[in-house]
Symmetry: C3
Subunit: 254 residues, 3 copies
C-alpha cells in the first residue's frame, strides 16, 4: 500500500480460499497480459481464458508462460469443456489440459444439456488430473433454476470433487444469478448461503453494482469472478471501502 489508512478491512493473504478475484481474459495480447499483471497481479488469484477464445488466440503457450511466471493459475472457460464434450472428444480435452500443463479446469453445462450424474462423473474424472471449478446456472436467460435446485447441484458438485462452485453470470452479468437487467436475484443468493459455505462459492459479478452488492452482503473477502482486467483495481477499492459505493460500509462496523 502506498500510504496508511486506519479502519481498512483485512484481506486474506494469497494463496487464499476466500477473497478470490477471478479475472476473465478474452484475448489479451502478450504485452497486455504483462501490463495487466504489472498493476493487478497482487490482487488477482486466478485467470479464466473466456469460453473458447483460446481456440483462436495466437501464441497461447507464451501467454500461459507469462501467467505462470507471475504465479497466477489459468484455466480454460467452461464452454471449451462443453465444446469437446458435445463432440464426444472428452479424452482429447484431457490430453489438451496436459499438453498446456493446465492445473485447473472448469466443468459446466451452460450451453448443453447434461444430467447431474454425468456432470459429477466429469468432475470426478477431471479432479484426478487438475483442480476443478464447476459452474452452476444456464447461459440461457429463459432457463430459471429454482433455489433448491441450485443448492442441490452445488452440494453434489462439491462432493464430486469440485474445489469451488461458480455461480453463472456470463461476461455481461445478465443471466443465472442475475435478472436480464443485471439486478441480483437476492433471494436466490441468500437461500444458497444457508446451505453452502460462502468460501466454496465463486460468484460471477462482472458489473460494478453486482460487486458492491456482494461485498456489502459478504464482506471484503467474498469470492468474485468474471472481472475485466481493468476492473481489478477498482474492485479492490470496493473490497476495502475506498470507493463511494462501500465507503461507509466498513467504517460503520469498526
Amino acid at each position: 500500500m502506498n500510504y496508511t489508512l486506519t479502519q481498512i478491512p483485512d484481506r486474506a493473504e494469497k494463496p487464499r480460499q476466500s477473497g478470490i478475484t477471478m479475472v476473465m481474459d478474452k484475448g489479451l495480447s502478450l504485452r497486455e497480459v504483462e501490463d495487466f499483471l504489472s498493476v493487478s497481479a497482487d490482487h488477482t488469484d486466478i485467470v479464466k481464458l473466456g469460453w473458447a477464445t483460446s481456440f483462436v488466440t495466437p501464441r497461447l503457450k507464451e501467454k500461459l508462460a507469462i501467467y505462470r511466471e507471475a504465479g497466477i493459475p489459468v484455466y480454460f472457460g467452461g464452454t471449451l469443456f462443453e465444446a469437446f464434450v458435445v463432440r464426444k472428444q472428452f479424452d482429447e480435452y484431457r490430453k489438451l489440459l496436459d499438453r498446456y500443463e493446465m492445473k485447473y479446469a472448469e466443468v459446466s453445462d451452460g450451453s448443453i444439456d447434461m444430467n447431474q450424474d454425468d456432470k459429477c462423473e466429469y468432475i470426478r474424472k477431471l479432479a484426478m488430473q487438475v483442480t476443478v471449478l464447476s459452474e452452476v446456472g444456464s447461459k440461457d436467460e429463459a432457463k430459471i433454476i429454482p433455489p433448491y435446485k441450485w443448492i442441490q447441484l452445488m452440494k453434489a458438485e462439491l462432493e464430486a470433487g469440485a474445489w469451488k462452485v461458480i455461480g453463472e453470470a456470463r461476461e455481461g452479468g445478465t443471466v443465472g444469478l442475475f435478472r436480464s437487467s443485471g439486478e441480483v436475484r437476492q433471494g436466490l443468493v441468500e437461500e444458497i448461503l444457508t446451505q453452502v459455505p460462502f468460501e466454496k462459492i465463486l460468484w460471477e459479478a462482472p458489473q460494478k453494482e453486482q460487486q458492491v452488492w456482494f461485498v456489502k452482503l459478504l464482506g471484503a473477502n467474498v469470492n468474485l469472478g468474471n472481472i475485466a482486467p481493468h476492473e481489478v483495481i477498482p474492485l479492490e477499492t470496493i473490497r476495502l471501502g475506498l470507493r463511494g459505493d462501500t465507503f461507509s460500509h466498513f467504517l460503520d462496523k469498526m
Copy 2:
C-alpha cells in the same frame, strides 16, 4: 488453431469477399496497434480510422505503416469525406488520400444531405483512385429510410463502382440498421437481402447481440463492421460456434 475440434464452420481465406471483419480504430497508440495486430491480424480484414479521428491523431504516417506492414488495409471514416465535401474541399480530400497512400476510401452521407446522383458521382470519381466502400443510412435516428429506398440506394452505389455497401450503425449500434435500443430492424435486413447479394454488404454491428443475430441469419462468413479491437477474438468465436450464443447453431446443421 491451437487444437482440433470437429464441426467447426469453414471460414473463407484472406483476402476474402465474404466473412470480412472490419475493425474501428478510434485513436489507438502505435503500441496498441501492435498489440491488437499481434492477437487479431489473422481475423481482421480491414481497419477504419473512425470518423475524423485521424485529424487529431499524432504519428498518423507511422500508424498507417504498421497496418501496411501487417497487410491490413486502412481507410478514413466516411465523416471525414463528408467534412471535406461540406467545405467544398473535395479535391483536397483526393490529394489527402494520395499523400497518405490510401488504397480504400468511404463515401457516405450520414451527417450531410446529398442527393443520390451526387453521391454516385463521388463514388465514380473516387473509384478511379481507390477501392470504395459506400455507406447507406443516416446517423440521425429520426431519419428512417424505408426498405425499398435502402435497396435502391445500395444497388445504385454498387453500380457506380462501390466494392461493398455498408449498412450504417455508428460506433454505438443505435441508428440505421438498428432501433435506438440496439435491436435489429429485422424486416429491413431481410428485405435488403432479397435484392442485394449478401457478400456485397458489410453490416455495421458493434454490439454482441447484433453480431450473433447476423451470424445466425447469414452464417460464419457474414461481413461485419465497426468491431472494437478487443472484440475481434470474441467475434471470431461467435462466427465459429464457440461462444454460448451460437454454440448449438452450427452443430444442428452439420
Copy 3:
C-alpha cells in the same frame, strides 16, 4: 493536425483556463500511461487518479514521474481526501501530498456529510499548499441538491480559494449533474451558468451524449472531466465539430 480543414473552432492553447479535458486514470499500468500520452497528451490538461485507486496501485511514484515528464498535472480523487478526513487523518493527507510532490488536490464531500464552513476551511488550508479543485454534488443519487444551493456552494468554494469547481457525475455519469438515466439536468446547468463564470466550472461528463450536450451549449472550449483515456481523441473531435453529433453545429455559426 494532419491536414487542413476550414471552419474548425479555435481551441485555447495549453496551459488554458477553459477548454480543459480532465482524464480519469483508474489504474493504468506504466506502459498504458505512456501509450495514452503518446496519443492524447496534447489534448489532456489534467489527470485524476480516480477515487482512492492510488491506495492499491503499484509503482505510484514512477507513474507520477511519467505524467510529470509529459507536463500533465495529476491529483488524487476527492474520495481519497474524504477517506483521510473521515478518519481524522487530515494532517497525514497534507503530508501525503508533499511526499508525492502533488501540485493539485481535490476537496469533495460526495461520500461524507460536511458542513459548508468546514469544507471551505479545508479549501483554504489546502490552497496554501496546492491548487485546489473543489467538487459540488453527492455520489448518492437520492440526495438532490436544488439549483440555488449548487450556486451558493460553488460561489463560496471559489471564494475560499478553489481554482475550479467540479460538477459531480461519478465515473458512470449517473448522479449529481445527471439523472440516473445519464440525462443532463438541463435546468440545473443553465441556472448555475447565470451565476458562476463558465470557465470556473469543470463538468464531469463521462458519457458521449453528455459531452455532446455541453459542447453544443457552451462551445469547443467547455471544461469537461472524468473522460476515459481512450475517449480523449473522440472528445476532441466532438469539440471540433468532426464527429456526427456536432458535425453541423459549428458550420452553422461560421
